[in-house]
């Protein structure tokens, strides 16, 4: 077995009685873009800080190419980092900010100049070299921070919610920039965010954190299409949960009874459930349809509201047993009137796209 590039071993961090990180274990291959996703307080930043050396873990280890980082002070770890807040040195010009890591490493002047020029070209800020950080926009400042963090060719780049202070448009612009830079440099990136769209957009793999533990790790597709827990299903993408009762598994698919008594067949059986056990059936909004197809399950609902979004339509409905449903079926002009008029009508979904979790 080959040595993983970066390895987190049973990392635990306790603040007094509160344990922020519970024995997190994780291997990261070289060149991967891995995102720590999770709500605030889930331990993702604490894990990142332990790698950066800002906090000593209570126990566990962090290994880079087989060597423990923990006894090495931050300034000798040779790790790059971009922070949530703009942490450019306010008294230094953009060029001097990027040059800073090289200057403290006493690199020759010629090399510093060349590298600064390369880095500013990489983040497309060649024309801003002499500006002070205060004269830059938030997005530009984060790009300088990125250039500074990459200037010394660190093997790992840590990013702690670097886009959270930017508006949506800038965020998307810099996301594209980060993807390009990851492609061009091949640096291993550990990225922390609480924004699932950002995580899906950027990452090779996502580690979803919950209460100091990794709930599930995998590609965005894994987490979206094959969530292993209700938390993952609820956190990634939008979900509708219907109260259900597990009946049996036939031929690899499960049969459940919904609260209104209707039976749904052909649900993927991922969890072991007892007959008669209370369960929750999760259906993605876009899995709903307004017209039945083969094998579809149907729900009798009251339509509360509809809206038209071009490629999709939003339908807010309530089942007879009171579960609210937020459905995003594909729009189809022929269905507009029927939806508007609907009362006590049926909507449909593909049970194979639904997930069953124990309640």
């Amino acid at each position: 077995m080959t040595e993983p590039f970066l390895s987190i071993r049973k990392l635990r961090k306790a603040f007094g009685a509160f344990t922020a990180v519970h024995d997190v274990t994780l291997d990261i291959p070289k060149g991967e873009f891995l995102t720590f996703l999770g709500p605030s307080g889930s331990g993702k930043s604490t894990t990142l800080y332990a790698i950066a050396g800002f906090q000593d873990p209570t126990s566990g280890d962090v290994l880079l190419q087989g060597k423990s980082l923990l006894s090495i002070p931050s300034h000798k770890r040779n790790i790059g980092m971009v922070f949530q807040r703009y942490t450019l040195f306010p008294h230094l010009s953009v060029a001097e900010n990027v040059a800073f890591p090289l200057r403290v490493r006493r690199r020759p002047e010629g090399e510093v100049k060349r590298k600064v020029a390369d880095m500013l070209a990489l983040v497309r800020l060649e024309n801003f070299a002499e500006r002070l950080p205060a004269a830059l926009s938030g997005g530009q400042q984060q790009r300088v921070a990125l250039a500074r963090a990459l200037a010394y060719d660190p093997p790992i780049l840590l990013m702690d919610e670097p886009l959270s202070a930017l508006d949506k448009k800038l965020r998307e612009e810099i996301q594209a920039e980060i993807r390009r830079i990851h492609r061009e440099t091949g640096v291993t990136i550990l990225y922390v965010t609480h924004d699932q769209e950002e995580a899906l957009h950027l990452s090779d793999r996502i580690a979803l954190f919950r209460d100091g533990r990794i709930e599930q790790i995998g590609t965005g597709e894994d987490l979206y299409l094959r969530p292993t827990t209700e938390f993952v299903a609820g956190f990634i993408g939008n979900s509708n949960f219907l109260a259900a009762e597990y009946l049996e598994t036939v031929g690899g698919t499960a049969r459940v009874r919904l609260a209104d008594g209707s039976i749904v067949k052909g649900v993927k059986a991922t969890h072991k459930l007892e007959r008669g056990q209370k369960a929750r059936l999760m259906v993605r909004p876009e899995a709903f349809r307004l017209r039945p197809a083969d094998g579809n399950a149907s729900l009798t609902v009251e339509i509360l509201d509809t809206a038209f979004f071009g490629d999709r339509r939003r339908v807010v409905a309530r089942t007879g047993s009171g579960d609210e449903i937020d459905a995003r079926p594909t729009s189809d002009s022929a269905e507009v009137n029927s939806v508007d008029a609907a009362y006590g009508r049926q909507i449909f979904f593909d049970p194979a796209a639904a997930f069953l979790f124990p309640a």
Binding site: G53, M81, L88, F89
Partner: protein
């Protein structure tokens, strides 16, 4: 400050505020501006009209010595105060709140205690047979009492003591305004603690150090009580000389002229200090 607060609906924007300022302006005008201007006038009219008082002050070696001595003391006091205050302010800015408020209380107690009380304590502590000399001798570091009072050493110790709070308190503000993340970033960039201090922390605190240092310097230049009590006759400072010229020698012309020189230097440095503070606010570094 909210901009709206300036534009009340009930009171239209007028010069009404001037009415409220009237008592203060009358007080300051009548009992501050007029006396100081009269003093200035006296410096060029007493005993006869002309600039002879200034010529005498600037041309005489004895007075030149006092000027030099004043600047020397103010300079030494400023340097020592900055060096002592910085580490304390640094700790105060980041230490746990309970510890910080204890330290703040000590600073406030020292600052609010009567000036003469503090100076009296130093007179007793520093005298030939004082506690400090005895302690040093009993430990065996010295075998003769050190001359700690009636000289530059005494003045420096006493003045640094008085000035420390004026340096520490604003510096804490400067240091608290620096984002600790900036220094974490510096560390990850590879800066050793020393490099991070020299290249980041120190430059970022410089506006506060400069502003506080200048304030201490200006205050020291015109200080009267402590140098008069802890200093010696051979290193008299300007304020004491002025007082003597008026009180003992009754030489109003010369005293006024010396006072006016002190006023001009003080105000010039103060204006510089205001500019420094203003600039550091503008760049957001302080």
């Amino acid at each position: 400050m909210p901009v709206q607060a300036q534009q009340g609906i009930a009171s239209p924007r007028t010069s009404a505020g001037l009415g409220g300022l009237a008592p203060a302006l009358i007080l300051i005008g009548l009992f501050f501006v007029v006396p100081v201007l009269a003093l200035l006038l006296r410096s060029v009219t007493d005993p006869v009209a002309g600039l002879q008082n200034y010529a005498a002050l600037l041309g005489d070696g004895t007075y030149a010595r006092v000027f030099f001595n004043t600047f020397l003391v103010a300079f030494v006091v400023t340097i020592v105060t900055v060096l002592v205050a910085f580490p304390v302010a640094w700790m105060l800015a980041i230490m746990p709140p309970a510890l910080a408020s204890l330290l703040f209380s000590i600073i406030i107690l020292s600052m609010w205690t009567n000036l003469l009380t503090r100076t009296y304590a130093w007179m007793v502590l520093l005298q030939r047979t004082g506690v400090i000399n005895r302690a040093l001798m009993s430990v065996g570091i010295i075998d003769q009492p050190l001359p700690l009072i009636n000289n530059l050493t005494g003045v420096t110790i006493g003045m640094v003591y008085i000035m420390l709070p004026f340096m520490i308190l604003p510096l804490v503000g400067t240091l608290r305004a620096i984002d600790p993340m900036t220094l974490r970033a510096a560390a990850l960039c590879g800066a050793s603690p020393f490099a991070a201090f020299r290249r980041i922390l120190l430059p970022l605190s410089l506006p506060g150090i400069a502003a506080g240092g200048l304030m201490v310097f200006v205050m020291s230049l015109g200080y009267f009580v402590t140098p008069a009590l802890l200093g010696g006759t051979s290193n008299m400072m300007l304020a004491e000389m002025i007082a003597q010229m008026i009180q003992s020698l009754l030489n109003w012309g010369l005293g006024s002229a010396a006072a006016f020189i002190l006023l001009v230097v003080t105000m010039a440095l103060y204006a510089l200090q205001l500019r420094l503070v203003g600039n550091s606010r503008a760049t957001g570094a302080a």
